[in-house]
Amino acid sequence: MEIKILYKVKQTAKRLLPFGLLTVLPILSACDHIDENDRLIYVEPVVQNDSTLTDSTKTITSTLRTVLLEDFTGQMCVNCPKGTEVIKQLQDDYAERLVAVGIHGGPLGFKGNATTIGLATDLGDKYYDSWQLEYQPVGLIDRHGAVNYTDWVTEVRKEMAKTSSISMELEATLNDNQITIITKATSLEGTYDGQLQLWVLEDSITATQKRHDPIDNDNVTISDKNYLHNHVLRCAVNGSWGESIHLNTNDPIVKTYPLTVDAAWEASHLSIVAFLYNNSGVEQAIKTKVKE
């Protein structure tokens, strides 16, 4: 009986709090049968990709931030696998809270020859040049400037501590060599002006990589023909810098994109990344596997 009463009190308080009826609190706090640990403390709601965004009883103004790490890498860059090791560590710790993208390009990127598959693209070169990067591996974490891979863990943690006012959803379905991508962006509080960018990534590509053997031994360098490359940027879906987007509070924008699978890609290894950014950096990111 006491449990039922406690449950009802909590539910009532949850409904009433967002509507500003805080005058009820003194009454509730007067209930001496509520344990000290169960007393209501107002905590700002934090949800991620919450399907209950339309629930009118909740006022959600922020959500967890998914961090975008753009890893500028290259097959000829012997130290770049060290950056990949850091990404693996971050993915083990944060799973889907981190979206890592391997951008092959720059002077140590390789576009291929008669015997060796190249993963670098003109798009990768364009990003490397536009961000005026000078060495590899180097990362952009939510596009707040170049970060050496030795500092990625610290900087990703800092960025993850921030919330975001944007919620995103993403779906990608493969049908007859055609991917249909649907993305939804919602501003939970205030307006947002920025760019919506969508990219195609591919995992599990076997291609030669210069690296140390083992990776932490700087004095032995090999060309590893069996190196497995993950989260490799293949192309931009909606232009190199995405497209302009304006969001009003709780007024979602849904966009749909068709995309033909390139003959060089393995469809079952593809993912789609979507993110929103402006001059203040990346506000929110999301990644989904392409469903067959």
Binding site: V78, P107, L108, Q136, V138, N219, T221
Partner: protein, 193 residues
């Protein structure tokens, strides 16, 4: 005033060495052993730096000054990042790094020629005690590829030179199925792909 000593002297506790940690006996070395690493022709320097007897708290940074480069680019991966230089002149100094006493660290620097020619780079190691520069040591590397003819390109003996089918007809290298492959060292192998 920062003094500069030749590489053969263990200046300020550091020396340029080979992989085994033997300091070079001159302050100029020639590198002409080209190899194909799968990405193209590379002329490695085989240049290492050793902490001979520098005290704890001492760090070192490397700076490349490209005096001449007929073509291609110079790559340097020290201590944690890789940079590629496609122009002559003095390049930006790398980050500082500490090296344990007795440890040898690869500069991972090489010339990536696009054609026959030569490239000359002066590598300077600046030794720091805290934030104070103690001094520098320098070594000149003369990279050569091709026409200078000091040494022919090192052939990767495991690289396929020609592929044939079972009837002896020449095939495209890398073709799938059972094929006879003649390696660069003249040996012949049966390969199924």
């Amino acid at each position: 005033m920062i003094a500069t000593v030749t590489a053969q002297e263990a200046g300020y506790g550091f020396a340029f060495t080979d992989k085994a940690g033997n300091a070079y006996s001159t302050n100029t070395i020639t590198c002409n052993q080209a190899e194909d690493d799968g990405f193209g022709i590379v002329v490695p320097s085989g240049l290492y730096i050793k902490n001979v007897d520098a005290n704890e708290g001492t760090t070192v940074a490397i700076q490349a000054n490209i005096i001449k480069m007929d073509n291609g680019k110079v790559q340097l991966c020290f201590p944690v990042n890789c940079v590629s230089y496609s122009n002559t002149g003095e390049q930006q100094m790398t980050e500082k790094t500490a090296i344990e006493k007795g440890e040898v660290k690869n500069l991972q620097t090489e010339w990536l020629p696009e054609a026959e020619g030569a490239c000359t780079v002066i590598y300077t190691a600046t030794v720091f005690s805290g934030i104070t520069k103690k001094g520098t040591i320098a070594i000149t590397v003369n990279y050569q590829y091709g026409t200078t003819g000091i040494s022919a390109t090192t052939v990767n003996h495991m690289k396929p030179q020609a592929t044939f089918d079972l009837s002896g007809r020449r095939l495209t290298i890398g073709k799938r199925g059972l094929s006879i492959v003649r390696m660069a060292d003249g040996t012949v192998r049966k390969i199924v792909k």
